[in-house]
């Protein structure tokens, strides 16, 4: 039953991607300034939202893990941590393409770009600790997840102030009509996509953990060498 629901949701998600492509390329108007280049914005914003959602999921799950010491919370944190790196990479790549079209530079130390980069780097650090921390790295990673999530508003605030002390050159278009619909349907679609990716990754993390535990038990019992 669960499997059927999951597969139905996955099929809906694929249909949704096709739907948003139609929406983006046929329904929404061509942008006055950026012309066709603006189309990348819809997927960019979807991925950016999911980056934030994934970081916060990871932070909350890490907090629960440190509080309750139940490995299922750690599985969620791990899955969300990986996904935040994925969505962060999508945000940065699409953002760079957008930046090249809009401002003719691949990168600019504008507030939002900087915030995304810093969030992404925190999550890369999280993955590095998980990978190279050795035994007991779950708790270290969890602590980093909690610190990272608490850091989000501080990074947001400090970088925004840091940049607004300087004149801003970016033009954020005011969205109306079908552009607005297109944006929010992309955000919703990426939300579904995120949940669909999160569930199997949590299960994989749990299976991996159980396998390690079983192997240790078997070693203790002398069944395997």
């Amino acid at each position: 039953m669960k499997r059927a629901i999951y597969l139905a949701a996955a099929a809906a998600c694929i249909a949704g991607f096709a739907g948003t492509l139609y929406l983006i390329f046929y329904v929404t108007p061509i942008d006055r300034l950026l012309l066709f280049n603006q189309k990348i914005f819809y997927y960019h914003i979807g991925a950016a939202w999911m980056l934030l959602v994934a970081v916060l999921t990871c932070g909350v799950a890490s907090l629960l893990y440190l509080l309750k010491r139940q490995s299922r919370h750690d599985d969620v944190a791990r899955a969300a941590g990986e996904l935040s790196v994925l969505f962060g990479a999508i945000v940065l790549v699409t953002g760079s393409i957008w930046g090249k079209a809009a401002w003719d530079v691949w990168w600019d130390w504008e507030a939002r770009l900087t915030i995304s980069l810093l969030l992404w780097m925190t999550m890369v650090a999280y993955m590095l600790v998980r990978k190279y921390g050795g035994p007991g790295s779950e708790r270290m990673a969890a602590a980093l997840g909690v610190f990272g999530a608490i850091n989000v508003p501080l990074v947001y605030f400090s970088v925004s102030i840091w940049r607004t002390l300087h004149p801003q050159t970016s033009v954020v278009p005011g969205l109306r009509g079908s552009m607005r619909v297109g944006m929010w349907s992309c955000v919703a679609l990426f939300g579904v996509f995120y949940v669909l990716m999160l569930i199997p990754r949590i299960q994989a993390a749990r299976n991996e953990r159980r396998l390690t535990e079983l192997r240790e038990q078997a070693l203790d019992a002398g069944i395997i060498q």
């Binding site: 190279y132 921390g133 708790r139 602590a143 980093l144 610190f147 608490i150 400090s158 970088v159």
Partner: protein, 229 residues
């Protein structure tokens, strides 16, 4: 009151060990000074008068990068000592509260960093003619708050990584992303002092106060649940 006495005892112990061996402080201070000198090569330009001057806008960066990098080597070593002779176990078995142990270690690191700053800040002032001491109250507050933040967060991660094989490699990796807001505040605050904009400087000092308060609470809580076995 007892709590503060425990904190002072542990910080005092760290300082006494350091003052007898002097292996961290001289190396930290030299490393910080070396970073400042290296930076000057990167940012020197020739002025119209024919003198070599440093680009004025970048001097706050010299101070804070030197402090942060040298602190990283210091904090790793401060916890290595506890690991080498397994004295962390002794500390944890002592009747001092866990929070006091943590704050004592952080206070020790704070004092070490302060000694490095006593070298680095005048050095930048002397070598590059940066008017860092024009507003001593603001500069002092900025230095104390930023140093406290680095010492607290650094102590949490250094303590966590104590038993890890790749600890020297992982410490900067986990530490720097969390320290970015502090770093921005310290650099922008120093720039504001150099640019004679006291309102901006005090804004960043208040920001550091919030940052420190937030992470002291988080650090105390994580130290309890992560380091203590």
């Amino acid at each position: 009151m007892d709590f503060l006495r425990h904190v002072a005892t542990i910080a005092g112990k760290d300082l006494r060990v350091e003052l007898r061996s002097r292996e961290i402080i001289f190396n930290m201070a030299f490393f910080a000074a070396m970073i400042v000198v290296l930076f000057s090569f990167a940012f020197l330009k020739e002025a119209k008068s024919g003198l070599m001057v440093v680009v004025a806008e970048v001097t706050p960066g010299f101070v804070w990068i030197a402090v942060l990098f040298s602190a990283t080597i210091g904090m790793g070593r401060a916890f290595d000592r506890e690991r080498e002779s397994d004295t962390m176990r002794g500390l944890l078995l002592s009747p001092a509260p866990r929070a006091a142990i943590f704050l004592g270690k952080a206070a020790g690191l704070f004092l070490l960093m302060a000694m490095v700053e006593v070298v680095v800040v005048p050095m930048v002032w002397l070598f590059f003619g940066s008017p860092l001491f024009d507003d001593p109250v603001a500069m002092g507050s900025l230095v104390v708050l930023a140093t406290a933040g680095v010492a607290v967060i650094g102590s949490v991660f250094a303590a966590m990584l104590m038993r890890t094989r790749a600890r020297d490699v992982l410490l900067p990796v986990v530490l720097y992303p969390i320290l970015v807001p502090l770093f921005i505040a310290a650099i922008k605050g120093t720039s504001a002092i150099l640019g004679d904009m006291p309102d901006d400087a005090w804004f960043w000092i208040r920001f550091l106060l919030v940052y420190d308060a937030l992470f002291v609470v988080t650090a105390l809580w994580t130290f309890e649940s992560v380091v203590i076995e």
